[in-house]
């Protein structure tokens, strides 16, 4: 009989201890930890891996980022412009495919060329809208279609002769 009451006391006391913890949080507004998300927006810290951004004007078109990407989220097409520099005409990043691993950012040899923005809200209604296009589009192509050094040298020689 004594054991029965002891057990009962034990059960009730442990439940009340637990309840005490809950009530402590319930009545103390200082313990509130929730942020009301759409109204209050959280500022991510530096180095946050959000949406990718490319500064296409300084991109050298080396394709290091596209090659390292483990899920092939970057589509890159380069042509040589009039100064024979590689230019990325097509630079698409599929945000639906990207896993935000950061390998491409680390692989990019140009400072502040490819980096993560602190943006984390970019949902869209269709998958197509999730592709960011950074490419330059059309660039004036190099005069000689072939990248053969010899022909270029010949041409230069001709010009000099004239």
């Amino acid at each position: 009989m004594a054991g029965y009451f002891k057990k009962m006391y034990h059960s009730i006391s442990t439940v009340l201890t637990g309840l005490g913890v809950t009530i402590k949080y319930g009545i103390n507004p200082k313990t509130e930890v929730t942020q009301q998300y759409p109204e209050v927006k959280r500022e991510p810290p530096d180095g946050f891996r959000g949406k990718l951004f490319v500064d296409i004007n300084i991109c050298t078109g080396c394709t290091a980022c596209a090659r390292i990407c483990p899920v092939d989220a970057i589509t890159l097409k380069t042509v040589r412009d009039e100064n024979k520099k590689l230019r990325p005409v097509l630079f698409d990043i599929d945000n639906a495919r990207c896993i935000y691993c950061g390998l491409c950012v680390e692989a990019c040899p140009v400072d502040n060329c490819l980096y993560f923005e602190k943006k984390y809200e970019f949902s869209a209604y269709s998958k197509q809208d999730l592709i960011s296009h950074f490419g330059l589009g059309e660039v004036k192509p190099a005069e000689s279609k072939t990248e053969d050094k010899k022909t270029e040298a010949e041409k230069e020689g001709k010009e000099a002769a004239q």
């Binding site: 442990t14 439940v15 637990g18 005490g20 810290p45 530096d46 483990p70 935000y100 390998l103």
Partner: protein, 372 residues
């Protein structure tokens, strides 16, 4: 169907059941309220990670290891990085090793917090889940300032870590460590020593040491059965041999050794130990390199290695065969949850349906790791 079979009923539990911790389908044969057999069906989260490993280069596979046990990505990153380093014979700088231990142990805490929280919500107590998530948020914030991501970190890389910790990280971690013990005490008051909770779990689904060995159970579930086996102690990697921590084992405080309550409590004890380890590591942290010099193109010599590490859920192993090219020839992943799941049919025979939830919850399995 024979006459004897007719009294049994077959019911599917899952794959969308909230307490199956992912997408696990259990085909349950019941005789009224009593289970006569349980058959797990897995594979709903299969992403062919082992096959993907053969198609990507060594560094490229690291982000995929995040997606093995997503609640303990750091630990998975770590085990994979150690495997490749062993193959390549890379010496990891001391600072990187300490950083790795800090991250791995913080991740162990956050993983156990989810185990604690989800188990309690399976058992019908919702408040502890919110408490667990609240403390985990702290750790997520720490990881976020260290590597920029909150779940799939890709932080521990071959050769070291991806970048050094920013200023303020150490202070914030210390703040967390000062704040955390009081919270563990709260968990204990709220749940662990609650008479109803104990009554619900004590003597349920007892795993004997022999069974644990037979099924290859590892991690907290093995230690709950009274076996002192922790890879951090038995086969110290990184700097674990310099650190002072205890390996808690189940003692059958509330019932038999190896029951569901013991398994639950192991995680609470381990969180305390992990916090102790992180504190020591913060004291050891000295300036230095955060990564070894690793060439961009990794071409390990032909050969094979097996490396295992203590994950929050048990022993995670990578068996890697290299043929001398830039891509692994074969990568076999030994997932601890897979072994832990395999004992569920045995445990669940003859118990009540409600106890099945307690069994799954106390094993703390995670499906992406099982299906890979």
């Amino acid at each position: 169907m024979t006459k004897a079979d007719e009294k049994f009923m077959q019911v599917n539990m899952g794959p969308q059941h909230p307490s199956t911790h992912g997408v696990l389908r259990l085909l349950v044969t019941t005789d009224g309220e009593v289970l006569s057999g349980v058959k797990p069906y897995i594979g709903y989260l299969h992403r062919a990670l082992e096959k993907i490993a053969e198609r990507v280069t060594y560094p490229q596979f690291t982000p995929f290891t995040d997606r093995l046990d997503y609640l303990a990505s750091m630990n998975c990153n770590l085990a994979y990085a150690m495997t490749v380093e062993k193959l390549l014979n890379i010496e990891v700088p001391r600072r990187a090793q300490i950083l790795r231990v800090i991250m791995a142990e913080l991740n162990r805490i956050s993983s156990h917090l989810i185990a604690f929280g989800s188990f309690s919500s399976d058992m019908g107590a919702f408040t502890p889940f919110l408490f667990g998530i609240r403390e985990r948020e702290f750790i997520n914030d720490l990881f976020e300032i260290a590597c920029g991501a909150r779940l799939t970190y890709n932080y521990i890389r071959i050769g070291g870590v991806s970048k050094d910790i920013p200023g303020g990280f150490i202070e914030k971690t210390r703040e967390f460590l000062d704040y955390f013990p009081a919270k563990i005490k709260e968990y204990n008051e709220l749940l662990s020593y609650n008479a109803i909770f104990i009554k619900r779990l004590a003597n349920i689904a007892v795993i004997s040491p022999d069974d644990a060995f037979d099924y290859g159970i590892t991690g907290p579930n093995l230690r709950a059965s009274g076996i002192k086996w922790d890879l951090r102690r038995e086969e110290p990697y990184l700097i674990y041999n310099e650190l002072d921590f205890d390996v808690p084992v189940g003692k059958g405080e509330m019932g038999k050794t190896g029951d569901a309550w013991d398994r639950y409590m192991m995680r609470i004890y381990e969180m305390e130990q992990s916090a102790k380890i992180v504190r020591q590591c913060l004291d050891l942290l000295a300036p230095g390199d955060y990564t070894a010099k690793v060439s961009k193109v990794l071409k390990p010599p032909a050969g094979e290695v097996y490396v295992r590490a203590e994950n929050p859920r048990g022993e995670l192993g990578f068996y890697l065969i290299s043929d001398g090219s830039t891509k692994p020839y074969r990568l076999k992943i030994r997932a601890p949850s897979f072994a832990n799941l395999s004992i569920i049919p045995k445990l669940a025979r003859g118990v009540m349906i409600a106890d099945l939830i307690a069994i799954i919850g106390s094993m703390d399995i995670i499906l992406p790791e099982i299906d890979r």
